[in-house]
Amino acid sequence: MTVYAALGAVEQGLVYGIMVIGVYLTFRILDFPDLTVDGSLPLGASISAVAITHGINPYLSLVFALMGGFVAGMITAVLNTKFKILHLLASILTMIALYSINIRIMDGPNVALLGADTVFDVVIAAGVPGRYAGILIFGVFGFSVTAFIVWFLKTELGMAILATGDNPKMITSLGVNTHAVIILGVGLSNALVALSGALVAQNQGAADVGMGIGTIIAGLASVIIGETIFGHSTIARAFVAALLGSVVYRLAIALALGLEFGDFSFNPSDLNLITSVLVIIALIAPNIKKKVAAR
């Protein structure tokens, strides 16, 4: 792994980390396995890309992306709560519908943003070297989103979301409408995922309908890596861990990409295998060390 690749991995980890925060919210807090994210990530990207190519400010385009993602999440949650469709199926239905919707939004499968205005222009114009612009912007966004969610979960509404995930019966008996809480929570989660998608598109120079494939896999892997390595004893710690889990996941990919032993290098098609082996090592290493120490 070269220094440049490591920087790239941290950058990718932070931007996808915003998606991971969203996944943590549904998967762990609300106990709602949500596959909508495979569609809402490219949804945010499409909305932002189309807005930018129509001359809208790149930062304002993020707001539209957030709103789009929120609506997508709401649809999944309404299908689940009001129409009693199993959460997994409801999210799959929204996800596959979004594939067609994203193509409609972009009027095609791919919108190029190479040479267009992006959120990075401001900081690059201020004199930050291009290679650090991504890390700076994504770091600010990643930690602001984390701080916002941690604050939000301490408000009365946030407490209701926490309680709905923990014990829906108890919270219903307290007179809270769990349906509304679930719709809000899943909407919020997908709004963050769409924000992440919008930033990814601006970073990689294009929005593509295929960019959402594997989002939930990366999201769940990052959540669990984060919990295992950084712990989850408090809400704040858990969300920071989710963000950092995403960074570790991307570092594992970067490490796999650059892995060479002298003259032996892996076949390019081995990438996914090596990545998963590296993640397994990261997850079990602490346990093994503990066992060895206990002897």
């Binding site: 440049y4 190029a112 291009g130 120079g205 390019p268």
Partner: protein, 322 residues
Amino acid sequence: MKRIFGAALLLFFSVVISSSAHAEGYVISVNQFVEHPALDAVLQGMKDYMRDNSVAVDFKVHNAQANMGTANQIAQQMIGEKADLLVAIATPSAQATAQALKRAPEDLQRPLVFTAITDPVAAGLVEDLQRPGGDITGVSDLLPVRKHLEMVLEYLPGIERLGVMYNAGEANSKATVETIRELSDDMGFTLVEATAAKTADVYQAAKSLLGRVDAVFIPTDNTIVSALESVLKVGVQNRLPIFAADINSVERGAAAAMGFDYYRHGYQTGAMAEKILKGASPATLAVEFQEELQLHINTLYSRKMGVEPPPALLERAAKVYN
């Protein structure tokens, strides 16, 4: 806390241990989007060009396995590798690499050659095909659609309805189908479209065309070509002739194709890469296209699909599978 420290230490060492430099020959870093017979053939063609012309090149090949996030990371990995030239195969990889280069520091800037890209202008890679201007140029696989359709019409004179199968999520295919639609009036046939979003949907999409078309044309669509066998099965069972746009598909059983040969495409890319390695500026090298097409015919499958290959075409064919 110990765990975090351990993880950090592991990372630190992995950064330090890596990065070894090669002294002799050129280094080319490759960002390939996905394993796929056509894209693999491009890479092979490029490697063979370098070998045939005894240009010593060490290829550092990376494959994103169809994941855009990984394509992005590969782009940054490649910039760190400090190769002499970067090559990107397929649109998403080229866009990711171009974007990473745009933000890389001055001393890590390298020329980029793209390949297997249908519309480099729409993809935002170059502003002008003749004079790319920046440090990016390459080879486009834009299909000479009219030549393909003329062959189909000569093969099956008088057909009225032509089916086209593609994935609406592939930018290349969308461009091709639009061209076919524009040509259909002029050439006197009705276009019937069937789309499949993933390989598992291809069989159903092929069946949906039954009774509505006289023949099916498959453009160079990654999804449909990956599942070509299921289209051929429908074609053979219902005596519906299937035509393709690349010659590999003819070997697999399509009736015929005015061959787009991805191996030669890669070979052409190799020639362009050599020019740049030896000092030519990408800004003045026009984007290239594949000019010569070869007609390949599969007589065995053609008959199975109920069509006797016309003798005039068989005479012109560069390759006939029996």
